[in-house]
């Protein structure tokens, strides 16, 4: 079966997350977005674990679904055009902060468990090591390698995926707290890593430049901190609809069950370029090099973003494909496209109105962004939005790259274009 999965996200028990991150709203938003498999996130948190056990029931092997009466309470929030079955799998991100070889390592890892018993084993081990109550993503002084061992010992099908591996501050290959090689991070247990998460600021094209990543299949997830951010990145499968199906697609290099990934345009990510947010200096890696790594405004070292870091560790030029390479599709979230067309922020009420109308008439967001015919979109949402989606599909967008924690800024239309296209649209309306 063909399906989309977004398995790295957070619950309302994580820091700086929306209160709407509960199982009901995740079920709603998964349908609006067009995602069939959602990670629970945060299973190590005892409060969230309690909610999971209360509200979920087993479905396909290793998958869980919202119990009927909880699902019923939010059913009317999903237009019939979007309704589909949603499954959960047990996942949790861990923040590992520790010292290895005299250097501070700050690495985020996502762990997965095929059933509650395994999840609880992991939970109880981690509970001995640190505080699992304060944050849905616990902060532990535990070596990533040791975390991996704990995960592997919980069940043969439990696994770990290094999260957004290029993020400067918190990742396996990050410029600030990472290693130069994934295998340095997981040491003797490295062979148990079979997938890595590219994160918002990098796309597969960038990752394929490193031979060291050849053994891994690339996955994408949203790392959402609110339900509406769900599926901004995701992974597409065509395999058995179960935890085991996903596990096999990831772990078996011969398996073709992973079809590809949905990506941000990497420039849109928060750490694509280098720079200083406080000084508002955004630097292309080459400019950084010219400035000897220093900020032109304050003369202190810049935060080295993903592009620079990839350049530093890459052993191939751009354009090379890794042996486990899969296709990927760069998308812009629909509210942002609508906002761009209207010349307003993606979170504004007028965007929301159009978004809901489009979903109601056309289908879920993933369908609209990837498959829906442009003429259908035009009928429902007007020429400008249709043109925006068209341009996005063709990759014809300008983005001021993100840096030092600042998201990139999308620019599909220039102001004059927007005016001209709007007139055109009105003309066609009169014809």
């Amino acid at each position: 079966m063909r399906f989309y999965a977004d398995v790295h996200l957070h619950s309302h028990f994580s820091r700086a997350t929306s209160p709407n991150l509960n199982l009901e709203y995740l079920t709603v938003w998964a349908q609006l977005k067009g995602i069939q498999v959602v990670g629970t996130g945060d299973f190590v948190h005892p409060g969230w674990m309690k909610e999971l056990k209360e509200k979920l029931e087993p479905a396909e092997e290793g998958f869980f679904k919202l119990k009927d009466h909880y699902a019923a309470s939010v059913k009317d929030k999903v237009p019939s055009s979007c309704r589909c079955e949603v499954r959960f799998m047990l996942s949790c991100e861990i923040s590992n902060i520790y010292k290895r070889l005299d250097k501070v390592r700050k690495i985020h890892n996502v762990v997965f468990a095929p059933h509650f018993k395994a999840a609880e084993k992991i939970q109880s081990q981690l509970g001995n090591i640190g505080n699992i109550y304060a944050d849905g993503r616990p902060i532990l002084g535990l070596d990533s390698r040791d975390l991996l061992e704990i995960v592997l010992e919980s069940d043969p099908l439990s696994y770990l995926v290094p999260a957004h591996i290029w993020t400067p501050w918190f990742s396996a290959l990050g410029s600030k707290g990472g290693f130069d090689r994934i295998t340095d991070c997981f040491a003797d247990l490295s062979s148990h890593i079979f997938a890595v998460e590219t994160g918002l600021s990098s796309d597969p094209l960038m990752n394929w430049r490193l031979s060291q990543l050849d053994p891994y299949v690339l996955v994408s997830n949203s790392d959402a901190h609110s339900a509406e951010k769900l599926a901004r990145e995701s992974t597409i499968y065509d395999t058995e609809f179960s935890y085991r199906g996903i596990y096999k697609a990831l772990s078996d290099p011969q398996d073709q069950g992973l079809l590809g990934t949905i990506e941000f345009f990497p420039e849109e990510g928060k750490y694509h370029y280098d720079g200083h947010r406080a000084c508002q200096t955004r630097l292309h890696p080459q400019e950084t090099k010219k400035n000897n790594g220093l900020c032109p405004a304050c003369d202190k070292p810049v935060t080295v973003g993903v592009m620079s870091r990839v350049e530093e560790l890459a052993d191939h030029p751009e354009g090379r494909k890794s042996p486990r390479a899969r296709p990927y599709y760069s998308l812009i979230p629909l509210p942002e496209v609508i906002g761009e067309a209207k010349g307003v922020g993606a979170a504004s009420q007028s965007v929301e109105k159009v978004f809901i109308e489009m979903l109601g008439k056309l289908g879920n967001e993933m369908f609209i962004l990837r498959e829906c015919s442009i003429s259908d979109i035009k009928k429902v949402a007007g020429a400008l939005i249709a043109e925006g989606i068209e341009r996005m599909r063709q990759g014809k967008v300008k983005i001021a790259a993100g840096y030092d924690g600042e998201y990139g800024k999308i620019n599909i239309f220039s102001d004059s274009e927007r005016g001209a296209l709007q007139e055109q649209g009105q003309m066609t309306l009169f014809e």
Binding site: A16, V104, N131, P138, I139, D146, R277, E406
Partner: protein
């Protein structure tokens, strides 16, 4: 690993008893192990070495180091505490071979049976009195209860903890052939030995058996437990012909931190202890922070810890909000928070719980507790945590970053209604705390503090005013609370 000239001299010394006065961070354990290893290499057939440490943990560490230096010869070296040495001694004696050390609850029950009319506090007092007699006042008239108490123990084939030493003492006097193989005795942490341990040494040491004692009178902090730093001063009378050597080069602390701790100690009565020289050249940070309340003090410490690991959460993470580059190379295991009284840790614990920062409270493990096996979880052991502990527990440890909280007049030195301590010992205790820091030392105090249900308005600890003003950096920092906007992300309101 190399030895500096004074360490080398201490290692090579031959021909008499030796007292090594070794300040914090001077390579005391390093020197001691090398000296033991060197002398072990000269042992003849059957000759043995006895090395006494203050704790079992220190003994393990010493064995580990020695095994690297000595190889197979380590079999000729007994490494352990006075108690473990004496326990072995007693067990080898036919009369005591079936004896065990009573568990704390066994002693409690025994006292309950013997004196059922006593209240809990009376029983506790009685046990303290007995322990004091056995370890310090054993030459004086014993407490009236002791005969009954001892009898009751012995009929059960039990010793209490203090018996191990006292019984060994009488055993050595009348029956010491087994000990004749020992050629050298080493005693670590000599400033912390008590009267019965001192007497044991006097009995053990002979012209054929040389003693090496090492320690630092400035770090004598167990007077309340019966240790007596005066044995340092009387060493040359106790062991005629003894030589004294000094280790004065500090390899641990940044120079400004070392100077500051030296200034706090300048008023000590141990004028024979020389000041230390810094062998670390990189300046450290000495920060004095005054918080309005004890709650604010705890928030400050947690905020600092978070800053020093360069932020613990990804949201709000950019270079502007994260720590300066030079601050951000610490992890949780690099940091310790020290306090005078256990009760001070409660607010800190709450603040740490809220933050999610992993921490661990290193308890003042009773000596008895040390004999019992500990549950081990390798992941727990390997994972990093911020250490919380009393100043007493911190002795012998080092951390890149040290916070001492409660730097106030009634906590350092301890001076509360029901707790008054010897000011000299309090000064040494504060010195021990300060000298744990390698790079950064935060001396923190609260202007208002609740202690045992009472509110105190406090001024600064007098120890801090002994630090010259030039070294004192006052930090005034407003701590930014997590703002509401960080929590409230923009949401679609209709769902």
């Amino acid at each position: 690993m190399t030895l500096n000239p004074s360490q080398q001299a201490a290692v090579n010394h031959q021909g008499s008893h030796l007292l090594i006065i070794a300040g914090p961070g001077t390579g005391k354990t390093h020197t001691l192990t090398y000296r033991i290893a060197r002398l072990a290499s000269q042992l003849k057939e059957n000759e043995r070495i006895l090395a006494i440490t203050f704790t079992n943990k220190a003994a393990l560490e010493m064995k580990h180091r020695l095994s690297k230096l000595c190889g197979k010869r380590i079999e000729k070296i007994f490494v352990g505490t006075f108690h473990s040495f004496c326990f072995q001694l007693l067990q080898e004696h036919s009369h005591f071979k079936d004896f065990c050390v009573a568990l704390p609850e066994e002693i409690e029950n025994l006292v309950k049976d013997l004196w059922p009319q006593y209240a809990n506090s009376q029983r506790k007092n009685l046990l303290e009195k007995i322990s004091r007699w056995k370890s310090i006042d054993f030459d004086k008239e014993p407490p009236a209860e002791i005969a009954v108490y001892n009898n009751s123990l012995r009929t059960k084939n039990l010793f209490d903890f203090d018996d191990l030493l006292l019984e060994s003492l009488s055993l050595i006097s009348c029956h010491s052939s087994r000990l004749q193989d020992y050629r050298y005795i080493f005693v670590d942490e000599y400033q912390d030995i008590n009267a019965v341990q001192h007497r044991l040494l006097l009995k053990l040491v002979s012209p054929q058996l040389h003693l090496t004692a090492i320690g630092d009178p400035n770090q004598a902090i167990y007077g309340f437990r019966g240790s007596d730093v005066r044995f340092f001063e009387s060493f040359r009378e106790d062991f005629p012909g003894a030589t004294t050597l000094f280790l004065e080069e500090n390899y641990r602390s940044a120079p400004n931190l070392l100077t500051a701790s030296g200034q706090v100690m300048a008023k000590t009565k141990f004028s024979f202890v020389p000041a230390l020289t810094a062998k670390i050249y990189q300046e450290g940070r000495l920060i004095i922070y005054e918080a309005p309340t004890d709650k604010a003090e705890a928030e400050y410490v947690v905020h600092k810890i978070e800053k020093m690991v360069g932020g613990t959460s990804m949201f709000s993470h950019d270079s502007g909000r994260a720590a300066k580059h030079e601050e951000a190379h610490y992890t949780f295991g690099d940091m310790a928070v020290l306090y005078r009284l256990n009760t001070q840790k409660n607010l800190l614990k709450e603040a740490l719980e809220r933050s999610g920062i992993p921490y661990e409270i290193s308890g003042d493990k009773s000596l008895e507790g040390e004999l019992l096996p500990q549950a081990n979880d390798k992941y727990v052991e390997r994972s990093e945590k911020v250490s919380l502990m009393t100043l007493h527990t911190s002795k012998g440890l080092e951390f890149s970053v040290v916070f001492i909280i409660g730097c106030e007049e009634n906590l350092s030195p301890l001076n509360l209604e029901n707790f008054k301590a010897d000011i000299e010992e309090e000064r040494r205790l504060f010195y021990v705390g300060m000298t744990r820091a390698k790079e950064q030392l935060y001396l923190v105090r609260a202007q208002r503090r609740m202690l045992f249900g009472k509110t105190y308005e406090n001024s600064l600890s007098p120890f801090l005013t002994d630090i010259e003003e030039e070294l004192q950096n006052y930090e005034r920092e407003t701590i930014k609370k997590i703002s509401k906007e960080d929590k409230q992300l923009q949401l679609f309101k209709s769902f």
